[in-house]
Every structure is written in structure tokens, then in C-alpha cells.
Amino acid sequence: MKAKQRPLSPFMIGPYYKPQLTSLMSIAHRASGVFLSVIGAPLLLWWIIAVSKGPEAYQALLGFYGSWAGRVLLAASMLALSYHLFNGIRHLVWDSGRALEIRSAYTAGWLVLIASAVLTAVLLGVLL
């Protein structure tokens, strides 16, 4: 059976929707989650395994964290972690039925961005 061409709402990325803080933060929550799953979690596991294996493996890990690529991945992971943490709390508040008005969504959105920037700066200041 051939599917009928029914009208669908257009995909979020494209010329149809104006970018808004709320929509961009929504997709950034997913993007940061995917990044943490694919890059962040392996970095954490690598750290655990290196500490278990011994001083040489640990030095190799520190060498990578000090390298150009390592610094970029570490910095991106800290940004993703901070953002996903604070925006996740924003989502949990929504799930409880609170702060669903448009004004609250924007206020909480800016608070999340500020808190993420501060935590990322602290972590990068300490780690890099």
C-alpha cells in the first residue's frame, strides 16, 4: 500500500520556524545528552580503568587530557555536563507541573544558561 502524502508539521530545523531560546535550548538538551553518552561517559570509564591499571596507564590518560584534542573533548564534556545538569533540573520542574508559563520558561532558561556558564568556567579553571 502506498502511503498518502498527508500534511506534516515541518522539521524543526529549516526555514519554517524562527529560532527561539526555548526551542534552541530544547535541542541543545538532546545534543548535550548525546555528547555526554558518546564522549563523556567513555572519558569517565577510561579514567576509572586507567586508575585501576596502574601509574603508566594513568600517565597516558593525563597525557591525553593535556593534549590539544584532549583539552577540546574535556572542555566540551564539562560544558555539556553543566548544561544538561541545570537544564535537566528545569525539565524536572516542568514535569512537576510548575513554571510552565512562557515567561517562566524564558526566565528559567536564562538562569540555566548563566549557571551552566559559571559551572563550566569553574571546572575548566580547575581542570585545564
Binding site: 553518552s37 561517559a41 567513555p42 570509564l45 580503568i49 545538569l85 535537566g88
Partner: protein, 126 residues
């Protein structure tokens, strides 16, 4: 006017299956992870620039080892549920989707097992 009750009319009409359990598990792990990630941030600050012996002693402490095990399991379970939904939403080719879903599950469970084994090795001094 229909003589059937609302539940009878709703049954069989929609896609609702086991979504509530998934939704809830995503949020329960999220709540745990707020506290566990706060602890991880503390650990990263304490251990930044630490030498091997210091890092090992930190993980070897029973409370830290236990927290790290719970963190790894909660984190990878939360990641698995999240990636599953992202794949469901954006990957529409059935064979690719099933392959990715299996890879996500395998990766998450393997990561949990590896994390627990290596943390226990450190904690037990093996």
C-alpha cells in the same frame, strides 16, 4: 450517545504501550544523577592534577567506590534511555534503527559491567 465507558473507547485506539515505565525511569535516574553529578564535580575538583596514588586512594575508599558504582550505573542507564528515544525520533530506516538500538543497549550494559569490575578491583586492592 455511546454506551461504552471512556476506557473501552480509548482501548486499542492509540500507541500507548509501556511508555510510562520508560518515562519514569528516565526521571528517577535524573533525580539521582543531580546528586551524583554534584559529587562527581566535587571529585573532579579534588582530584584535578592529582598523582596516581592520590586518585587511587580516593576511589579505593569504600564510600567513594560505592558512589562511583552507583554513578556509572545510573549514568549509563539514563544515557541508554535517552539515546533510545533520540534514535526512535530521528532514525526511520528499520534495519539501521534496530542495529543502533542494539548497539546502544550493548554499549550501556558493557560500560556498566566494565565500570563496576574496575572500580571493585581498585576498592579491593586487586
Amino acid at each position: 450517545m455511546s454506551m461504552s465507558n471512556p476506557l473501552a473507547r480509548a482501548r486499542g485506539m492509540g500507541s500507548a504501550k509501556g511508555g510510562v515505565q520508560h518515562w519514569l525511569a528516565q526521571r528517577v535516574t535524573a533525580v539521582f544523577l543531580i546528586f551524583l553529578v554534584a559529587w562527581l564535580v566535587y571529585a573532579m575538583i579534588v582530584l584535578s592534577g592529582a598523582d596516581f596514588a592520590t586518585a587511587r586512594a580516593f576511589i579505593a575508599s569504600p564510600v567513594n567506590a560505592a558512589l562511583l558504582i552507583v554513578l556509572v550505573i545510573a549514568l549509563l542507564y539514563h544515557a541508554m534511555l535517552g539515546l533510545q528515544v533520540v534514535i526512535e525520533d530521528y532514525v526511520h530506516h528499520p534495519a539501521t534503527e534496530i542495529t543502533l538500538q542494539l548497539l546502544v543497549r550493548a554499549g550501556a550494559f558493557l560500560g556498566m559491567a566494565l565500570g563496576v569490575v574496575y572500580i571493585l578491583k581498585i576498592a579491593l586492592g586487586a
